[in-house]
Symmetry: C2
Subunit: 279 residues, 2 copies
């Protein structure tokens, strides 16, 4: 694993690292914030999965999460959203190919060779992180934005014993029925919609739910609101009596200005689930 950079930040360290991934067959870059407490032993981990077009850097630089993670003594992981590089297939559209991995394992050509983000995020990267850094595998939580909110919700519901809590900012809630989903599922997974269901948060909420608490924030002025289909997940959460909070935030859109505005709430929410909040 190669260290790209390490900078002191809120008494901890914001690092960027690169490693060779077997899952994607490429080098992968990620950001990791370690609070000062990591010098004394393993700390809890909050995963942050980013949205379409993002690299590891967007949320790391714009979401303002480090200060709250430092306050709570929690590490933050910022993975990339897809494999990248000259040998990796891509598409002219912003929402397919590089920057748009959708947190699944592709089975269709030309994507299947490299687009294995499900395995990368749920298996390979955790193994690399817990081997190398002072992170507590027993205390993990997960969040994300847009496509990354979709990833956080679906990964959490498939790993009920791994995450104490899950949250999302403006998540894609029902990709099977959205233009943010049907196009990508068709390309990556093919036409068998049985495969799609494993990657639809609303379907998973109906079928299995999540053992811990859920927090979702979405802006009422989200310019992609129709694509998110928040109402389908809302209905499924309520029908299931899922322990969850869904907040529609007046006037906020889909940008990182929205994400940063509510980051304190999300980090505090996860801290409470992980080990009781510090005051």
């Amino acid at each position: 694993m190669e260290t790209i950079s390490e900078n002191r930040c809120f008494d901890g360290t914001q690092g960027v690292y690169r490693h060779a991934s077997e899952a994607t067959g490429t080098d992968m870059t990620f950001g990791l914030f370690l609070p000062a407490e990591a010098e004394d032993g393993p700390v809890p981990v909050l995963w942050y999965l980013s949205g379409l077009t993002c690299t590891h850097a967007n949320a790391m630089e714009k979401a303002g999460a480090q200060q709250w993670a430092a306050e709570q003594g929690i590490a933050l992981v910022f993975p990339d959203t897809s494999p990248r590089g000259a040998g990796v297939p891509d598409d002219p559209a912003y929402d397919l190919g590089q920057g748009a991995g959708f947190y699944l394992n592709a089975v269709q050509d030309p994507w299947a060779e490299h687009f294995q983000m499900w395995s990368y995020i749920t298996e390979e990267l955790p193994q690399a992180l817990f081997h190398r850094f002072a992170l507590d595998e027993e205390r993990q939580a997960i969040t994300g934005h847009s496509m990354g909110g979709h990833g956080a919700l679906t990964i959490a519901m498939h790993h009920p014993d791994r995450f104490a809590s899950v949250s999302a900012f403006a998540p894609i809630c029902n990709p099977m029925e959205s233009d943010w989903g049907q196009k990508q599922f068709t390309a990556y997974l093919g036409s068998n919609t049985a495969l799609w269901e494993a990657h639809d948060a609303s379907v998973l909420m109906r079928e299995r739910g999540f053992a811990g608490p859920i927090l979702i924030d979405t802006g009422t002025a989200d310019q992609f609101g129709d694509l998110l289909r928040t109402e389908v997940l809302a209905e499924a959460m309520a029908a299931r009596r899922q322990h969850a909070t869904l907040r529609l935030q007046p006037g906020y859109d889909h940008s990182y200005w929205f994400v940063s505005s509510f980051m304190e709430d999300h980090v505090t929410f996860h801290a409470e689930a992980l080990y009781g909040v510090r005051t």
Copy 2:
């Protein structure tokens, strides 16, 4: 004045605007954060001047200032660091020409036609802002990073009645005696060092000081520490008995990871000077 974007952020609005500048002879872009209180009337203003290579966007996106400005009911202005465009002279080096205006009025060719950032920041942009937005001209403060810290300190000391307080993150403190300064002053101002003295914070501190309080943070691991010449300003502030706090922050470097780590302190410092801090 053209609105590039407006996004809801911490109950206020983060806007980006473009206007034609007579001072620079170009279009200029700036960011402006207005807290919710601006809907009810003029609010105090904190100017943030950025460093070498930056546009209006770097601090706006990475410094995490909006949350604290929202808490204190203060507006934030993020100007660009130089004129830009195809007709504007430039230099291959990162520290001269576009992105490196140094907050002065050039008198040497080819720079003099467009590089008039002193007039733009101290006269033209304030007039445009106070004409258009709900900002209180009687309650202003100023801060900046690196070259922008140099700008904040020199502009504040030349306008003792305008700013209640001045702060800086890793400012260039003594450009007359630094490679971050001599090169640019020679290019923009020529060889007459009498002109240089008006743009050297340490010289100005010896000659006139500042009526309000000053806060300066610089990292002990700043990779450009020798270029900043913090020790010269420190000596001048102490000799003058200037009301000031200089903090050398252990382990921090020159990056925005450093700036964001101490932004809460700086906004709170200015809020206290502007109208007493909110608790």
